[in-house]
Structure formats: structure tokens, C-alpha cells
């Protein structure tokens, strides 16, 4: 009798504990979702009303004068993404091919380790290095310097996803190619890479989404530009740097434009993320 109540009591205690801990997990999920909702709520709430045609087609106005847009910064961000890709993709993809196809040795391990090291390097440090390597010898802040910094930041993501995706290609594909008398390099390029193409694209898009909002490495490389500029040997405007400048400024109109720019930036990154989802989905359907 006594022991029955005891086990009963323990049973209820265990039940209560179970309920309590599960509720905590639900609560933390709720708390994790809250900032997402808050950030999106504020960005849309504060930014949306300042996005109009002018925002995409006009240039920034002089300090303190309301109006104007960020056409040059939007273009600049796209150019920087392009330059970053030109620098980062060849290195990333080819290093990825090496790791997947030839990298099962000591040297491969070292490269893999260094790629991981690179992915942990803070972006501000990459900015410092790009300044000493590109800006100082060129004696010029430039879009190119910004592209180099962003490209370096893309490499680890691209390398590791390329490696993994190429690894996923079944060996029977390679053997089939070789059996037909196709040289290995052609097999890799024409058969293996083609099969892994969507996977590698995902990696590339992921890397682009990661660097699209990078600000710190641009501060001392691409600097900024208040004019329309497409020259890659000149300083160039970018949305993140504009957000930074406009957010800390005391001018209300600038603050509002910072929110609008943040909204546009998030929208651009979302497009990249949705493309990733689309690409990965169609890949699984093919399989």
C-alpha cells in the first residue's frame, strides 16, 4: 500500500517533470521564432513605405536633403557579388574537385583543415588582409579589393559543398566513362561535374547569400561611393555599407532609407535562398 503511493507519487513527479521540460522546449522554440518575426516586422514596417521607384532609380542626395535613392548601391552590391564570384568560384570549385577526386591523402587533409580554418576567420580580418594585399599596392580603394575580400569569404563554402557533391556521384558513373575510353579528366568534367552540377550550384548560391550582406570587409576595401560607378578600379557603393552609414546618422530620412535598404538586401538574399530550395528540390526529383 505504502509502496504503491510512493511509486504513484514518483510517477506523478515524473509526469510533471516531463510536462515541465516539454513545455520549456516549446517555450524556447517560441522565443527563437520571436526575433525572426520582430526583425521582419520592423524591417517591413519601417522600410516598405520608403521603397518606391525613386529608391531603385535615383542617386543619393547630399547630406541632410531628403529624397533620393540607392540605385548605385544596388548596382554596386551586384557588381561586388559578381567580382567575389570571379575570385572565389574558380578557386573554390577546383579545390573542391581536387579534394573529392584526388584528396584522399595527407595533403588533402591539410587542405581540408585549411579550408575549415578559412571558414572561421572573421570577415573583418579578411578585410584587413585585402587592404594590405590589394588596396595598398594599388594605392586605391576599389571594387576589385572588395571583390577579393568577398571572394576569399566564399571559398570555404564553395570548396566544401563542391567536394561533398562530387563525392555523392556514384563511382559507377566514373567507371562507365573510363570503360568507354574517355580520359579521366574528361570523365570528371563531362560526367562527374555535370551530375554534381546542381549540388555545386547550391554551394555557390549559399556562398553568395552569405557574402551579400557582408559589411565589415567592405569598409576598407570597396569603401563607398555616392555616385554612379561601374569601374572596378574605383571605390564602389554597396547596400550594406549604405545601411551602416545611414543607420548611425542622425537624419531621420536616412534612417528610414536604411530600413528600406535592409528590406531590399533581405529580399535579395531571400531570392538566393529560394533558388537554393528550388534547385535542391528539382535535384531530388531527378533522382
Amino acid at each position: 500500500m505504502k509502496s504503491a503511493t510512493l511509486t504513484n507519487g514518483r510517477f506523478y513527479r515524473r509526469k510533471a517533470m516531463n510536462f515541465f521540460m516539454n513545455s520549456l522546449a516549446w517555450a524556447s522554440a517560441l522565443m527563437a521564432v520571436t526575433p525572426v518575426l520582430l526583425i521582419f516586422f520592423y524591417t517591413v514596417g519601417k522600410g516598405a513605405s520608403y521603397i518606391d521607384l525613386d529608391f531603385f532609380t535615383h542617386m543619393p542626395r547630399p547630406v541632410g536633403e531628403p529624397g533620393g535613392g540607392m540605385a548605385n548601391a544596388i548596382l554596386g552590391t551586384l557588381i561586388l557579388l559578381g567580382l567575389g564570384s570571379v575570385v572565389g568560384l574558380p578557386i573554390g570549385i577546383l579545390a573542391g574537385i581536387y579534394l573529392a577526386e584526388f584528396g584522399r591523402n595527407k595533403f588533402g587533409e591539410v587542405v581540408r583543415f585549411m579550408t575549415d580554418v578559412l571558414s572561421g576567420v572573421p570577415s573583418i580580418v579578411v578585410g584587413v588582409v585585402a587592404y594590405t594585399l590589394v588596396v595598398l599596392p594599388m594605392k586605391q580603394f576599389s571594387a576589385l579589393a572588395g571583390g577579393v575580400a568577398l571572394g576569399i569569404l566564399m571559398i570555404p563554402t564553395v570548396t566544401r559543398t563542391s567536394e561533398e557533391m562530387i563525392r555523392l556521384v556514384p563511382d559507377s558513373y566514373r567507371e562507365a566513362g573510363l570503360a568507354l575510353g574517355i580520359p579521366q579528366w574528361k570523365t570528371t568534367l563531362r560526367i562527374v561535374l555535370r551530375t554534381a552540377f546542381t549540388g555545386i550550384t547550391t554551394g555557390v548560391l549559399l556562398a553568395m547569400a552569405r557574402i551579400a550582406g557582408e559589411t565589415a570587409p567592405l569598409l576598407f576595401t570597396a569603401l563607398g561611393n555616392r555616385f554612379w560607378s561601374t569601374a572596378i578600379d574605383q571605390p564602389i557603393a554597396s547596400l550594406p555599407v549604405f545601411i551602416y552609414d545611414y543607420a548611425k546618422a542622425p537624419f531621420e530620412d536616412w534612417n528610414n532609407q536604411a530600413w528600406a535598404a535592409a528590406l531590399v538586401l533581405i529580399f535579395m538574399i531571400s531570392i538566393l535562398s529560394f533558388t537554393i530550395r528550388f534547385v535542391t528540390r528539382s535535384r531530388f526529383q531527378n533522382d
Partner: protein
């Protein structure tokens, strides 16, 4: 470094691709940014020549002109002799200081119940920024502001986190009026602040003060007025409380204008004169005597001539004091030597 030469050759290949367009890049002081961005906007519409100016702070302007990464710099704290020597050594050319306008550094605050026109003595101001005066109802503040509504709110000091000419003018002034400040902190574009919050740029300090009740900071007059922030009247050398206005800044410059040094590097803080506002200063463009590229040199000369003539008329609207006539004449002569 072999890598550097690789990068350089890469650059040479790429630079052929970018189409020709006269663009000069500059960076530096945030103090005159309001005016400069107006100037460069107007000038671009007038002539098509782009002066891309980034307000990264005076320290940044000096640094980048030393490293030769910009075509022109801007500062409100003159370069030191060592810095000028270093530039000559690194870039093989001399740097000129070209004064463009004058401005006031105003002590701005966020104290809604107080309204405009707080009156401060130099000693109290130094005390606040040294962290010795910590409450708004401190006796030293109250004594010069009888009848004002001062609560026991904590004073939140805001200063620059970046290297700043505004900071230079401000600390130069405090060093002149307070022995303690001079020994403990000193003057410079970046100093070790005894107390307070750091914010980047004049924009940042004005933004911080605007956001934070009970705060006090120092910004260029234009930033305070444009943001409807109140600012303090300062007791000057002659013992008068002076409101920072274009007239009181010009008054401070009057002495210096008559006795301008050859290289234009002059401090006008704590100036003589009954109506002089004591925390005023020139702001300079830093240009190379000989430019990398002949067309850039010409563009600079043309622009500087325009700035001395038409450009000066934009100053007052934006709350900068135009240069005294004598100084303009000197500058116009000096500009001719730029190549």
C-alpha cells in the same frame, strides 16, 4: 612581395576595361561632410567631374593621404610635422593644407525639460568630459544656469570612437583651458577618453545624443541644427557666454586671418575677442602638390578655384562660416602651385 605584383598586374589588366571618367576619390573629416556632399553634388551637375567623398573621419583622411590610397583627404585637425614628412617619404610628394570653410564644434545635449541655451564654463565642460561632473544638477552646472530645471539625472557623455578632427578641435580647446585635461588626456584626433560612449562620426555622436536622454556630446554646428538638437553657450577667453553662430565663428577667425602661417595650419580655439566662439576651427582639404595623374591635378585646381568663389556661397546656408577674404586670396595663389 611577389603576391603584390601579381595583384598589381591583375589590376593593370582590369583597369583597361573600365571606361574613362574623371573621378577623384577622397576621404576624411565628417565635420564638413554636410557641405562637401552638397559641393560635390552641385559640382558634378555643373561639370560632370565626380568627387567621391567618404566621411570616414579626419584620422582616416590623414592616414589615407599618407598611404596614397586617395586623391585627396580632408581633416579638421592639421597634420603633424612627422606625418607630413612620412607622406613625403612614402609618396615622394608634399601635401598641402587647403582651408575650405570654418566651423564650430558645439556642445549638444539631450535634456528635454531644459530647452536651449545651457551655459557652460570651460572648467565645467572639462569636468564633465573628465568624468568629474556626473549629474546634471551638479553645483558647477547649476551656478551658471540659475532658474533652469536641472534634475539629478546622470550625465551620459558621448564622444567619437574614430579618429576625428572634431575631437581634435574639442580636445585642443580643452587642453588650452584645463591643465588637468592637458596632462591627463591631451589633444589629438584619437585620445583616451576618461568617460562616456563612443560613436562613429559626427553623424554617430549626433545620433547617439538624439537617441539618449541625459546625454551630452560635441558635434559640428550643422549636425546639431539639422537635427534640432540644443547646444550650449560657451564662456570665452574674454569671459562672455557666446552662442555658436556663423558670426561668432568668423569673429574667432579674424585674428588668425590677419596672421596666417604659410602652410595654413593654425588653431583658433580659445581665440581672443569679446564675441569669439571659443571652440571653432578651420577645416582643410589635403591635396598632393603633384598628382599621380595630370588630369586629376587639373580637376583639383579647377574645383578648388570654384570652392573659393561660388562654393563659399553655399557655406552659410549649411551653417559653416565662409573663409575670411584675406584667406581666400592666399588660397587662390597657393592653388596655382598644384600640378
Amino acid at each position: 612581395m611577389p603576391t603584390k605584383s601579381i595583384v598589381l598586374s591583375l589590376f593593370l589588366t582590369f583597369s583597361g576595361l573600365s571606361y574613362a571618367q574623371t573621378q577623384l576619390n577622397g576621404a576624411g573629416a565628417t565635420f564638413p561632410y554636410v557641405l562637401y556632399s552638397k559641393w560635390f553634388d552641385v559640382y558634378k551637375q555643373k561639370t560632370g567631374v565626380q568627387f567621391n567623398y567618404q566621411s570616414i573621419g579626419s584620422g582616416g583622411g590623414i592616414k589615407q593621404i599618407i598611404e596614397g590610397t586617395v586623391d585627396f583627404g580632408a581633416t579638421d585637425g592639421p597634420m603633424k610635422d612627422e606625418q607630413l614628412a612620412e607622406t613625403s617619404k612614402k609618396q615622394g610628394v608634399d601635401v598641402l593644407h587647403i582651408p575650405t570653410v570654418l566651423g564650430a564644434v558645439v556642445v549638444t545635449y539631450n535634456l528635454p525639460q531644459l530647452g536651449a541655451g545651457l551655459k557652460l564654463t570651460p572648467e565645467t565642460l572639462a569636468g564633465i568630459f573628465l568624468g568629474e561632473v556626473t549629474k546634471w544638477n551638479d553645483r558647477r552646472i547649476a551656478s551658471t544656469n540659475p532658474g533652469k530645471n536641472l534634475s539629478d539625472q546622470t550625465i551620459i557623455v558621448a564622444h567619437r570612437s574614430d579618429g576625428s578632427g572634431t575631437s581634435f578641435i574639442f580636445t585642443d580647446y580643452l587642453s588650452k583651458v584645463s591643465k588637468q585635461w592637458e596632462t591627463k588626456v591631451g589633444r589629438g584626433t584619437s585620445v583616451r577618453w576618461p568617460t562616456g560612449l563612443g560613436a562613429k562620426g559626427n553623424e554617430g555622436v549626433a545620433g547617439l545624443v538624439k537617441q539618449t536622454e541625459g546625454s551630452i556630446g560635441y558635434v559640428e554646428l550643422a549636425y546639431a541644427v539639422k537635427n534640432h538638437l540644443p547646444y550650449a553657450w560657451m564662456k570665452n577667453k574674454a569671459g562672455e557666454f557666446i552662442e555658436p553662430t556663423l558670426e561668432s565663428v568668423s569673429a574667432a577667425a579674424a585674428g588668425a586671418a590677419k596672421d596666417m602661417p604659410e602652410d595654413f595650419r593654425v588653431s583658433i580655439t580659445n581665440a581672443d575677442g569679446k564675441s569669439s566662439y571659443p571652440i571653432s576651427g578651420f577645416t582643410w582639404l589635403l591635396v598632393y602638390k603633384k598628382n599621380r595623374d595630370k588630369s586629376k591635378g587639373e580637376a583639383l585646381v579647377n574645383f578648388l578655384k570654384w570652392a573659393m568663389a561660388d562654393g563659399q556661397s553655399y557655406a552659410s546656408d549649411l551653417l559653416y562660416a565662409p573663409l575670411p577674404k584675406e584667406v581666400i586670396k592666399l588660397v587662390e595663389v597657393r592653388v596655382q602651385s598644384i600640378k
